[in-house]
């Protein structure tokens, strides 16, 4: 039955690929949404069944077929449902379904064949993502890992007539690939060291080891896996593809680059708590990278002009939080943030999609404003999402982010906690900057001048009204989720039972190392409340700053920008990281390939060798043919001479 969950979207993919071209837009959209809906239903049933089992044995494995049997190494294509994957499939199918519904309205200006293509890719993505989270071993996970990378490429470059979209798709795929090399190396090391790739077997084997004191084999493995995660989940140094990925349609950004694919890295670490907890050095690297990424992305997002770019950097930043959590050992907190982030980030993206749709493709913040009047539903849902991400108490984001910050501080990493806190401030500022610039104030320019970066299909039409129900309903649902979803993780300090922690505990403590830190994760309600107050205060300060600069006194913001001109330019240009990579890596590789490999090795070397053989044969033949003089006497003479010589030779021996 587990197989149905990814199989149904895959079926939707096949249908849309096969006959979608001839169907109407409504039909292909219905196929896709239907597949997701049924998959969601099956997931709910499966999770219901799982919850019915006793806590200690909440594991359901389904082996689809025996994949590799080679000597002592066996790997089967197996799916496994346990608390962690249960949460993930609900997120993927639930939010995926909402986004599919949203897409039916958002993409309504495309041709039917394009719609079919879009929905087929979207379903394929869902199928692969479900395979990723349901995988019982590294190989199945990797199948899903690669598959979502592929779908990301396909969907980013969906409007393939736009060169920037194609470039962005390629960039995403290639950068992912770089991470994947490290990931594969990690998996290979696992096979060599432990002889199995199954997660539970691995946890059993690793649990009996002592955690690494120096940078040993487990640390190496986990580091390699983490590098793969930086590629997929857009952390330093491989985050550069995510902002460019905004070239794709907004629902794609919501689904793939906010709620699901980018969380695959975090999920992977959560799956392998056994390995990671035995590698404290790697965990420290993970935490530091996560915190640094969160901070740096936050600073970049502060000054971006494109609404989707701000949200993209926000995603990178929030993912940094999740990795920070995983790095300090707060695995539940990381997954909790993944879950709440899925709600409010998807909501924010879909909301921005509604804005873009209403403005007929306009994405520049400087040309927006005052949309609160025209798009009320969008405004209120967007506001809910913004409040959630800023960490305002009572909404989901507050609980998850706070959990992370508390665990960081309690785990003895005050510096990281400080970085996280500052990033919190930045989050509040840039998020409300976005809200105020978009929905408040006066519009800078008339709205009937669409941006050239809009989708080619949507340029001529604009609907300056709230989105249709297909788009509005998902917004409302997600807004409700952003507000309420956090309550399943309500910490004990506030009187809750933290059900999420209890639910996920069997998975997230599987094989974990017994370290002092894990034992000392005792509750300290006093400290927790104090830190909550601090982070609330920070959120309030952030919102206040945003109100000052972007609601009341926009000139002050402009003045600040010109005052800190260089800093502003550096941030606007994303610290010139892309240019740095281009100069240091891309151009040398291109040069090597073109001049070196292509011109020397291929043209001169290989072609030269092959042609050279031909030339040699030709030349040899040209000389050899002169033997044929046409003179019969000559032939007779040579026969005679030859006979004498051969006879002489044999007589001599």
């Amino acid at each position: 039955m587990l197989l149905l969950i990814p199989f149904l979207p895959f079926l939707g993919f096949l249908l849309n690929v096969g006959v979608g071209r001839r169907l109407s837009k409504r039909a292909s959209g219905s196929i896709a949404c239907g597949a997701m809906a049924v998959s969601l239903a099956v997931s709910v049933v499966a999770v219901w069944g799982l919850v019915a089992l006793p806590v200690a044995s909440r594991v359901v494995t389904q082996s689809v077929f025996a994949w590799i049997t080679s000597g002592r190494f066996n790997a089967s294509f197996a799916l496994r449902l346990d608390p962690l994957s249960a949460l993930m499939i609900l997120i993927v199918t639930g939010i995926g379904f909402l986004i599919h519904v949203y897409s039916t309205a958002y993409m309504h200006e495309e041709r039917p064949s394009e719609c079919a293509r879009y929905f087929s890719y979207l379903n394929l993505f869902a199928a692969f993502m479900l395979v990723l989270v349901l995988g019982a071993n590294f190989l199945v996970l990797f199948v899903g890992w690669e598959g979502v990378g592929l779908c990301s490429y396909l969907l980013i470059g969906f409007w393939y007539e736009k060169k920037s979209a194609c470039d962005a798709g390629k960039k995403a795929f290639i950068v992912n690939r770089i991470g994947d090399v490290a990931f594969v190396l990690g998996v290979l090391l696992i096979i060599v060291t432990f002889g199995t790739v199954d997660f539970r077997e691995l946890a059993d084997i690793v649990a009996s080891r002592e955690p690494d004191v120096t940078f040993g084999i487990v640390s190496t493995i986990t580091l390699l896996l983490f590098i793969g995660a930086t590629g997929k989940s857009a952390q330093i140094p491989l985050y550069i593809w995510l902002p460019d990925a905004m070239e794709g349609p907004t629902p794609v950004s919501a689904l793939i680059h906010a709620a699901t694919m980018v969380t695959a890295g975090v999920y992977m670490i959560g799956r392998n708590v056994a390995l990671f907890s035995h590698a404290p050095d790697t965990l420290m690297i993970v935490a530091v990278v996560g915190a640094a990424t969160a901070f740096i992305a936050g600073t970049i997002g502060l000054v971006q002009h494109d609404i989707k770019r701000v949200l993209a950097y926000s995603t990178v930043s929030q993912l940094g939080y999740m990795f920070l959590a995983m790095g300090v050992g707060a695995y539940t907190a990381g997954i909790f943030h993944l879950y709440t982030h899925a709600f409010f980030k998807a909501l924010l993206f879909l909301g921005s999609g509604a804005v873009i749709h209403a403005l007929a493709g306009e994405q520049d913040l400087r040309r927006m404003g005052g949309l609160k009047r025209e798009l009320p539903v969008t405004y209120w849902t967007f506001l809910a999402g913004a409040l959630a991400i800023a960490g305002v108490p009572g909404l989901s984001g507050f609980f998850s982010k706070d959990e992370i910050l508390f665990r960081t501080f309690a785990g003895g990493h005050p510096l990281l906690w400080a970085v996280g806190l500052v990033t919190s401030l930045l989050t509040a500022v840039y998020m409300f900057r976005l809200v105020f610039l978009t929905f408040h104030g006066e519009r800078a320019q008339p709205t009937h001048q669409p941006d050239a970066t809009a989708s080619p299909a949507g340029r001529a039409v604009h609907h300056l009204h709230d989105p249709p129900p297909a788009m509005a309903l998902p917004l409302v649902v997600l807004a409700v989720g952003s507000i309420l979803a956090g309550y399943i993780g309500l910490p004990h300090a506030l009187g809750g039972a933290n059900r999420l922690d209890a639910f996920l505990a069997p998975t997230l403590t599987l094989g974990a190392a017994r370290t002092e830190e894990s034992v000392a994760h005792a509750e300290d309600p006093g400290a927790e409340l104090a830190l909550m107050a601090v982070s609330t205060g920070v959120a309030g300060v952030g919102i206040g700053l945003a109100v000052f600069f972007f609601l009341r006194n926009r000139d002050a913001a402009a003045a600040l920008a010109t005052g800190f001109g260089t800093a502003h330019r550096v941030l606007l240009n994303k610290y010139y990281v892309d240019e740095l990579y281009d100069g240091a890596l891309v151009q040398p590789i291109r040069l090597l390939s073109e001049e070196g490999l292509w011109k020397r090795v291929d043209v001169r070397g290989i072609d030269g060798a092959v042609n050279g053989v031909g030339e040699a044969v030709g030349g040899f033949a040209r000389r050899l043919r002169r033997l044929q003089t046409g003179s019969v006497r000559g032939y007779a003479g040579s026969l005679f001479l030859g006979a004498v010589l051969i006879l002489g030779y044999y007589l001599w021996r």
Binding site: T629, G630, R633, A636, F640
Partner: protein, 100 residues
């Protein structure tokens, strides 16, 4: 009584005379004649050996060789006639067109 070796020496001499003729002469017909000399030398060898082994096989092989020589002479002369009609010459060097 001449021994076997005497006959063999004789046939060797005849054979090399024939070979020299094939190589040295510039008349097609004479070349064919030299070939006939070579064949006869071989015949002599066969008969001598046959006699030395005491069987008639040598002579039978001579029978066949003669047949073949006749056939070959006939066909060869036909070719010479055809060539002569074409080029009015019996010099092998005037038929050097089948060259590189």
């Amino acid at each position: 009584m001449p021994s076997l070796n005497d006959y063999l020496v004789l046939s060797a001499i005849l054979f090399s005379i024939g070979s020299a003729g094939v190589f040295l002469r510039r008349n097609l017909i004479t070349i064919l004649l030299s070939i006939e000399i070579m064949l006869n030398a071989v015949n002599l060898t066969f008969v001598a050996f046959g006699r030395s082994f005491g069987t008639v096989d040598g002579q039978i092989i001579v029978f066949f060789v003669m047949t073949v020589a006749a056939a070959e002479a006939a066909v060869g002369l036909a070719i010479v006639i055809a060539l002569f009609r074409h080029r009015e010459s019996l010099d092998p060097d005037s038929f050097m067109t089948l060259r590189w």
